[in-house]
Symmetry: C2
Subunit: 381 residues, 2 copies
């Protein structure tokens, strides 16, 4: 069947935006084309070959040998939920590092599992202090330590190794949120000693939202197998998911076929480019963006050494705040078809979050945004 | 961006199948085209208009005025999970009608919430006995009664009204699985008195798998609001989902944008055809299929008055069983690009499940299958 048709013209067309918020980013046209070609069943041998190739590439991207490296049938928040519903039981002590909205969310999800949640906070826009985390690990003796690699609410990049090592040395499982980092920053789960990690497709992988690529190591799966209580979630139960994403390919739920085919194509493209080149591209684009934003009077929130390349948070200049930052964002959308993100939580109303994720981490994209901003909010506009 | 590109040719192409198993069915090309055009954010005013239109049409298709009628960000099994995680608390008495795999699954999901699960069983291929259900409702006095409208493992169509009325009269919430029925059979939640229902996109709606359209009435939402314990699932928490799918449009998780745009297009197409015409089309195609299968020696499992139109289960003839039913299905796939389903559970190895769902419920599709079957397993083949 063709993706073109007469009757599609009858549908109200959606505008096509340049997506420079905190995600989703733009999907690559090859990814969308692959999805549009997927007329195949979830137990078809040809589709299962595609799943095999996807899992292999996802392991390489996560830097892990974990066999249980899979696309979960949910968005990134479903990946977070899968970790806590499987790895935490009522009464467990869990330590969460909180430096923004997604660390907060981890506390909330863990508490719903009946965990005793201890937390170490960092000021928004900064990263967790290693010593504070190490002290808390020694004091709390948690069964699980969780934190965020790339905090999408602030644009800060969390160093991973020291905290992960201390947590493992204390016998805890380590869970890392890689929603915004995977595909734009090096992620090396096995070197870091991460037991469970999850991401999302709509950030640096340049797919539509809908899947959470995730990886679970042997220590995590042992914890699940040794649970005293059943995993509350049937849908996210790793024991059951392992039946489909393992040798036996047992039906659990119907896999989101189109999204999986799209992710497989995205991962193929990432390997074609090479992860080192891709990381460097994100870095270059971010530097160009920050320089241009500073010229326009936007002030980076995060100190230079802690900035994410794929997500830049900036305080809006006085003249933008005066007009109302949301009004200006709406004008960018309506006049230029460009979406940038507002602030979440503590940053609502004063901060913009500008994403250069995956395919959008390019000079020409930066220049298009800067030109639009110059028109709308430049000194002379 | 175009959905065509040179580099896509570099990808290993998947075969394009005629999907006549228990789901997924083939997606309509307009749905895939709409998905491939979706470069838009989940808080974009134009996308939120699309969500509004989707919710309006979904209410009409479910036969309900429930404001909380939404696409859940998961497959159909995620819809089941959402019902039980929200509507059941530890210690609750839950009654499930079991006539196949999906009734069994309801028991399992309810038990994981700490419910006391009572069940009424029907022989596979038959429907629940009204009197047995009414007796159990009176005896158990459950807080929730759940059953399946279209049992995908057997092909049986469950009458809804008498059981739903008795359950509500006894003060129970009523949960109905409409995964395979929605879009192919009349579904009238408000007339029947259903408090919560869920479906899947990959059956009679002719979209890829990945969303669970669902609806929750006032009594169900009151039950959630009055819970003594938090909903264990943050991802599926109806209180939080109501923030995004309500007036305020508060960010909860990133909506699966492409899938939602596809579903919106599918629902538009269904209204263009008209649900009555669509139901009649499913009915006609099923009659043609059964007549043709009987000529080839396949014997329907379900009595005529209880058969689903969109899913026909048949015992394979002796000569197919002798060769191995899975071998013959594989030949249909390899030689004809046609997928039909094997049996699940009790029916594994002896039964085929043949779906004529959504766009595939057409005479020419039936004739293509029958011709292929005649070639492969006809008396003279």
């Amino acid at each position: 069947m063709s993706t073109q048709s007469l009757s599609y013209a009858a549908m109200t067309k959606l505008p096509r935006r340049l997506l420079l918020g905190p995600g989703p980013s733009n999907s690559h046209p090859d990814v969308l084309a692959a999805m549009a070609e997927s007329q195949i069943g979830h137990l078809d041998p040809a589709f299962l070959d595609c799943v095999d190739a996807l899992q292999l590439r996802l392991r390489r991207l996560f830097g892990t040998g974990n066999p249980m490296t899979i696309p979960l049938s949910a968005t990134g928040s479903g990946g977070m939920e899968t970790c806590f519903q499987n790895l935490v039981e009522p009464g467990d002590d869990v330590l969460v590092g909180v430096a923004g909205v997604f660390g907060e969310r981890m506390c909330e999800v863990a508490a719903r599992q009946g965990a005793h949640v201890a937390r170490v906070d960092a000021e928004w826009g900064t990263v967790l202090d290693d010593d504070a985390m190490l002290e808390a690990i020694a004091r709390v003796q948690p069964s699980l330590v969780a934190f965020v690699h790339a905090e999408t609410s602030t644009g800060a990049r969390q160093p991973v190794e020291a905290i992960a090592r201390a947590a493992r040395d204390a016998g805890a499982l380590v869970v890392l949120d890689c929603v915004t980092s995977l595909g734009g920053l090096p992620v090396t789960l096995d070197t870091w000693g991460i037991d469970a990690a999850y991401s999302g497709t709509q950030k640096c992988l340049s797919c539509p939202p809908g899947l959470s690529p995730a990886s679970f190591g042997a220590r995590a799966l042992e914890r699940v197998a040794r649970r005293k209580t059943p995993v509350p979630s049937w849908y996210f139960d790793l024991n059951l998911l392992g039946g489909y994403f393992g040798e036996r390919r047992v039906y659990h739920h119907t896999a989101p076929i189109a999204a999986i085919v799209g992710l497989a194509e995205a991962l193929r493209r990432i390997e074609d480019e090479g992860i080192d080149a891709r990381v460097a591209r994100h870095q270059r684009a971010a530097l160009r963006l920050v320089a241009g934003l500073e010229r326009l009077g936007f002030e980076p929130v995060v100190a230079a050494q802690d900035r994410l390349p794929m997500l830049t948070s900036v305080r809006v200049p006085e003249r933008v705040a005066r007009e109302g930052e949301a009004v200006v964002r709406r004008r960018l959308l309506d006049r230029h078809d460009i979406e940038v993100g507002g602030g979440l939580g503590n940053f609502a109303g004063s901060v913009w979050r500008i994403g250069l994720m995956g395919e959008n981490a390019r000079d020409e994209v930066v220049d298009r945004l800067l030109a639009a901003l110059d028109t709308e909010v430049g000194e002379t506009s």
